[in-house]
Symmetry: C2
Subunit: 354 residues, 2 copies
């Protein structure tokens, strides 16, 4: 099927048979790893780390060197697109992302330009090329972007938000203006993911971290519609094989049936959902990725194995499950517990694929 | 049925017929009202406002004086219980609640004592008595507390949290210790709600604002179980009638069937859920309260009426719906839009009760 020595992630995402359930973890490259903190210190700050291909490549590879994970994911941030649009991103520890020039007025939003990935985001593409060279086909590399809705929340609010007052005011007062903004971000994201595929990623993922801020109707119109547009744009075959697409919809359990029909191959499920229920509701249309509570990695080894079994049993036998957390690895996680989890999934999932 | 001139809230919560759908709003007393900001300024800080019965009574009544709402809700905070336990609460604008002495160790948790409501939380009970005197039966007064899980997150984390790392570490490493903590908070909450009923509230509500931080299994064991215990403790008949109990489970859409069986009369539904779907899944076991996105109140009048119709239609005909937001009124809301919403619900809901 491919040049890959381990292609179980891609197989599972396309609901093809595998021997064991593949596993990777959201934020598997991150602060819980001492070798990450070293590189982060060397880089000085988070954005420099993202923008320096050799360092971004290095931290992308760290977790797959340490653990027998079934995929690497590009180390980057969903906000590099609005940064490339000129909004002036900074990211502070504890505080989170900030834009010096958020958008809100008609003029600001209509004035946005779609970045050229090669020119404006070349550092990401270079990190992908470096990482693929180093990985040399051991495991697939996942590329990603944020959903237009999620990225737009930061662009309008100017940073993280609890209530999303500014963007929701826009949504209800000037829906056509928000649609324009989302259209621009969707076009930029489509071009960006295509450039990532050309640079060598084996699968793509769209993070809709703030899906749960929306009601069902608003989600369908203002988030899912633009995820669909990205997926229509993105090359779905390259390097002689299919490029699977995953959509992670955090807080989006209520509308998983609709998400399953947006053109994705797999849905990333957060930990509040029951995986068996999610499988029944998506009726074999898509693969499912998830959904262990990241805090389970604080538990003793025996509990980690127990929770792994519960999750495997909840999904049940057969194809189409990629093991993952329901959200990112927490910074206080002990790397030894990650090792325990990866081993447990590979060992305990075998009977589910006989 | 009661001494109340308008008892439509109580009827709807008990799934009895009403002429129009009753409406009240979470955080209807709050910063969006200029008269609230005046009292808040006079009080100096939020906690002084909570602790001064005459002022707490005053802000409790403000929204029902301004709008024809079908209920008042006691102005207070879910964290007064741990404050009465001696954890040293402070609440800062923008920052949120902080405990000077959070709990985490065996000794701290085993050392917690259940407050005596009359002695330690008498200011709340006095505010209830004052408010009932002023309301003089116009509309019912709702009392409330937090769910033990939600209150415990603040007690362990020391304030608001994004990841709930500390309490989840406790959950997985020392589950018996967390169970002890939750048991103490449940016992304290049960006694507190009983004291509120004795002081005169007509309905009680338990806020599980952080239900969505838990996976389904963890929710059932660590949150719902303790809500059930509170509801077993609380007097459900007083003043010659039934005292309905509402459970608001934010982010808990995935397990609404289980919540419906916890002993409550009604479930508060957040805005990510489809109300019709929630009604089908709870099959007439409970009433439903909710669930308009609070940001709809930023919309023009025509959109507010439109969204009201969509929500009423989603619930459908018949008993058991209390109109509310899916979360609290946002601080930037224009009070005129609240007036529009209240009028729209009363006008447009009539056909659903013929």
């Amino acid at each position: 099927m491919s040049h890959l020595k381990n292609d179980s992630l891609l197989r599972a995402l396309l609901r093809e048979p595998v021997d064991v359930t593949p596993i990777w973890l959201m934020r598997q490259a991150g602060r819980y790893l001492p070798e990450y903190r070293d590189v982060r210190r060397r880089a000085g700050d988070f954005l420099t780390l993202c923008r320096t291909p050799a360092l971004a490549c290095e931290v992308t590879l760290q977790p797959v060197r340490r653990f027998p994970l079934d995929a690497a994911i590009l180390f980057s941030d969903i906000l590099v697109i609005p940064d490339a649009m000129g909004l002036g991103l900074s990211i502070e520890e504890q505080v989170g992302p900030r834009f010096a020039d958020p958008v809100g007025s008609e003029k600001e939003i209509r004035g946005l330009r779609i970045p050229d990935p090669e020119r404006d985001l070349g550092y990401v593409l270079e990190a992908i090329r470096l990482a693929q060279r180093e990985l040399s086909g051991e495991v697939p590399l996942i590329g990603f972007c944020g959903s237009p809705w999620t990225v737009a929340t930061y662009m309008v609010e100017g940073g993280s938000s609890r209530d999303f007052q500014k963007i929701k005011r826009l949504l209800f007062e000037r829906p056509e203006l928000l649609h324009h903004l989302l259209g621009v971000v969707a076009a930029a994201s489509g071009a960006y993911l295509n450039a990532q595929v050309n640079a060598g990623v084996d699968a793509v993922m769209i993070f809709d971290s703030w899906a749960g801020a929306l009601s069902r109707n608003a989600y369908l119109q203002f988030s899912l519609e633009y995820i669909r547009r990205i997926l229509e744009t993105v090359t779905r075959a390259a390097h002689g094989r299919r490029i699977p697409a995953i959509v992670f919809s955090r807080g989006g359990g209520a509308w998983i049936e609709e998400t399953a029909r947006c053109g994705c191959d797999a849905i990333g499920v957060d930990w509040t959902q029951d995986l068996g229920d999610a499988r029944r509701r998506t009726g074999g249309m898509v693969a499912l990725q998830g959904n262990l509570d990241p805090a389970v990695l604080f538990a003793p080894e025996s509990s980690i194995r127990e929770e792994t079994t519960i999750l495997l049993e909840s999904y049940g036998k057969g194809c189409g499950h990629v093991f993952n957390l329901g959200h990112g690895v927490l910074p206080d996680t002990d790397p030894e517990r990650v090792a325990t989890l990866v081993a447990a999934v590979h060992e305990l999932s075998r009977p589910y694929h006989l």
